[in-house]
């Protein structure tokens, strides 16, 4: 169980990024956090990862307080952030340094196979497309078999086709490893397609204003009625959070502002 307990984050310049944020994420659950730019959703993820410390409140993982990056928590950044001097396989196995070499190679091979890049094991990051590089980054985060995987707008830099295929890829990986996923995104469609629960954030200071459960079986039909309905609910919550009145078809993807 991942618990975010009454978190508050105030930056040194006095700006309040997060106020009274609470989440409880069940093991294996997929939670998406949506909100406009600057609403503090990336800050929240960095706090959960232990990359920053909250001003108040605490983050607990299975009863253990997170104060620094934790071995059971993986992170996928918005950019792949691969190390250009390592091959794809070495990048994927980067977090397995303490593991004996034979097992490390085996696990690297397995995780690369899972993201469909076994053939590229010896390539350099330079030789990959953006989508492939991000798959390596996901493989790198999953290789140490984290209980929780945090994803910070992981597909936002990719084109729509690649994004859709990586979302499905992510779900396959989730089926295989069953980590808890916390995904930050400004793409409402992505949030409802992937998540069991969508949390809507509102800026200044960042806080949750709505929680939308999406109790739909997977695989989900991206263009089906049910997801469309869920999407409208999220958009409505977002619009509401921006103090605008949602009106039928005019529901613009406000989250993408």
């Amino acid at each position: 169980m991942l618990l975010v307990d009454n978190i508050e984050k105030i930056y040194p310049n006095g700006a309040k990024a997060l106020e009274r944020v609470n989440i409880a994420v069940r093991p294996g659950e997929i939670v998406a956090v949506v909100g406009g730019s600057g609403c503090g959703k990336s800050t929240l993820l960095r706090l959960i990862a232990g990359l920053d410390r909250p001003t108040r409140g605490k983050i607990m993982l299975d009863g253990e307080k997170i104060v620094a990056p934790h071995p059971a928590v993986g992170f996928v950044f918005q950019e792949p952030r691969l190390l250009p001097w390592l091959t794809v396989a070495q990048n994927a196995g980067f977090g397995l340094d303490g593991v004996p070499a034979p097992e490390r190679n085996e696990r690297t091979r397995e995780v690369l196979q899972r993201v469909g890049l076994a053939d590229h094991a010896k390539s350099w990051p330079r030789e990959l497309s953006g989508g492939q590089a991000q798959r390596v980054a996901i493989a790198r985060a999953l290789a140490p078999r984290p209980k929780v995987l945090l994803l910070d707008e992981p597909f936002s830099a990719l084109d729509a086709f690649t994004r859709a295929s990586l979302q499905e890829h992510l779900l396959d990986l989730w089926e295989a490893f069953r980590p808890t996923l916390v995904l930050v995104t400004h793409d409402v469609e992505e949030a409802v397609f992937l998540a069991d629960r969508v949390l809507v954030m509102r800026p200044k200071p960042g806080r949750f204003v709505a929680e939308i459960n999406i109790a739909l079986a997977r695989p989900r039909d991206r263009y089906g009625e049910a997801l469309d309905h869920a999407k409208r609910r999220v958009l409505a919550a977002l619009d509401h959070s921006l103090q605008a009145q949602p009106r039928g078809e005019e529901l613009a993807p406000a989250a993408a502002i």
């Binding site: 990056p69 977090g95 030789e127 140490p144």
Partner: protein, 252 residues
């Protein structure tokens, strides 16, 4: 084979000059034809004198370059690693950098005498600054985002240095070493002009004083070859660590 294209111009010029002297269009006293230069080189080589001079010069370069690089690497790494040491050291070093290295010669001769030490010190000073600036700049420009990857995987400080910082700064460091070595060759001549009994710089001065332009040109030619060889050796030594960059160069 394409690199051979680079030889066309110098070979053609050499042949033209050779022919001009041979057929009496030019006198060739102050600008000896290639055949005379090579004959001089050959004479210097068979007496073993050439190698004595090469050895003396190379030894000075190696000692000075080594000293300069070690000092620059240590201070550059220190300045890059801590803001405090950077604030303390960097302004002074930047001030010293503004002094033309040759300006130290009189002082070094007073301090270290006219023999090897003052020469090596001059070369070391010459090599120091490009390497210091290179490593400091490389450390300061390491991408914070990549360092964060190290933090997520909980690398200890030594592991962070070994697995992320060193590989990240290596390309710029190698470039600065090559620049430093190039300057080392420049300063060894200056050092040997200070008065030396052997070395390629001595051959230059000797050639000037005795009116032997062929010896001067033979020495210059040797400088060119040695400079190119040492640079290539340095580049080759670094190449195994930079294959990922080669892949980049090949692609684009």
């Amino acid at each position: 084979m394409r690199f051979l294209i680079g030889f066309i111009l110098p070979v053609a010029l050499a042949l033209a000059w050779e022919a001009a002297v041979r057929f009496g269009f030019a006198q060739g006293r102050l600008m000896p034809p290639p055949s005379r230069i090579f004959a001089t080189l050959y004479d210097l080589a068979i007496t073993g004198e050439l190698f004595r001079h090469i050895a003396a010069t190379t030894a000075r370069i190696m000692a000075g370059f080594g000293l300069g690089v070690v000092a620059a690497t240590v201070l550059g790494a220190l300045a890059g690693a801590s803001k405090l040491s950077r604030d303390v050291m960097d302004p002074t070093l930047q001030g010293l950098r503004a002094v033309p290295s040759i300006a130290w010669v009189p002082l070094f001769i007073l301090w270290f005498g006219i023999f090897e030490t003052s020469k090596i010190m001059l070369i070391a000073v010459g090599c120091f600054f490009p390497v210091y600036l290179g490593i400091l700049g490389a450390i300061l420009s390491v991408d914070r985002k990549i360092v964060e990857v190290g933090r997520i995987f909980r690398l200890s400080t030594p592991a962070l240095v070994r697995r992320i910082l060193l590989p990240a700064i290596l390309p710029a460091y190698v470039v600065s070493l090559r620049t430093g070595l190039g300057l080392g060759w420049m300063f060894v001549v200056a050092a040997e002009f200070m008065g030396a009994a052997e070395g390629l710089g001595y051959l230059l001065i000797d050639g000037q004083q005795l009116g032997k332009p062929d010896q001067i040109l033979a020495s210059i030619l040797t400088f060119a070859v040695l400079g190119k060889i040492t640079d290539s050796l340095l580049a080759a030594a670094a190449a195994p660590f930079l294959t990922w960059q080669d892949a980049f160069a090949r692609r684009d």
